[in-house]
Symmetry: C2
Subunit: 157 residues, 2 copies
């Protein structure tokens, strides 16, 4: 089984000058149940369907299955998704040997910026850039599937 | 959008002598919500993922998206499906110009036999074989996604 080990952080400072790539992402959920999320996504000029299982106790490791599919099919599937589409730009930022994916959200999740880094194991060490804020790995409020239903703008401050 | 026009019936008599093909099917649901069911299926030696939208008022027409995927991937995905896997044999039976798919269920749905015919339009005429029983098109109790959660054996008689 494919497993992804990811740690997720809030972003507290400016990172854009260090980014080497930016891609617009629009995605919706056919299922946002944490035990079996089913996501369709347009990422730049490509389309994907991705299924994730529930995470382990720390939330860092989740079963993941993904297939590329035509963008036109994603657009059809978005029409039957749960209400609440996610719209964001994904920036890629190098820090030492690691590449962070930094997501800046729009729409009802405006104001939220999160960074993820993929690791070989849950306890692998990595360089922390200045703009990296509090860790939110495993906090389901920050799952995109949760943000689709309960956007950041509605959160109590 | 791909739409399937299907009418569904109970089966009340013997049809197996007329069948020209039989295939074992095992399937589970990543989402059994009628508005957006996500099904993974092993059918004979092939694997599929299928997404269906909600039907129209009569239940005969539903948006459908399907991709063939490796059987091994279906088996992985079955592990994270909702509880309640469907196990059945699908028989193909010719009646005039039409081919009926007749599903004989096992396990917790033992005793249930249903036939489906695909039509070009909701009101297209077709030949009714002797073994064709009451029509259940659009009755969500007979959706496989519903049978997975509420199997036939549990129904009040």
């Amino acid at each position: 089984m494919a497993k992804e080990i990811e740690r997720k952080f809030l972003v507290k400072g400016d990172f854009k000058d260090e980014a080497f790539k930016a891609t617009r992402i629009t995605q919706g959920y056919l299922s946002s149940v944490p035990e079996r999320t089913v996501r369709v996504r347009v990422k730049g000029d490509k389309g994907f369907i991705t299924i994730k299982g529930i995470g382990n106790a720390s939330g860092a490791s989740r079963y993941e299955w993904e297939k590329e599919i035509p963008v036109e099919e994603v657009k059809e599937l978005l029409l039957i998704c749960e209400p609440g589409v996610i719209d964001k730009t994904r920036y890629l930022v190098k820090a030492g040997e690691f590449t962070f994916e930094v997501d800046e959200f729009y729409g009802d999740n405006e104001g939220l910026v999160m960074a993820e880094v993929e690791l070989a194991s849950v306890d692998e060490d990595f360089e922390r850039p200045d703009w990296l804020g509090a860790e939110v790995t495993g906090d389901r409020r920050y799952y995109n599937s949760h943000l689709a239903r309960h956007p950041y703008k509605e959160w109590a401050v």
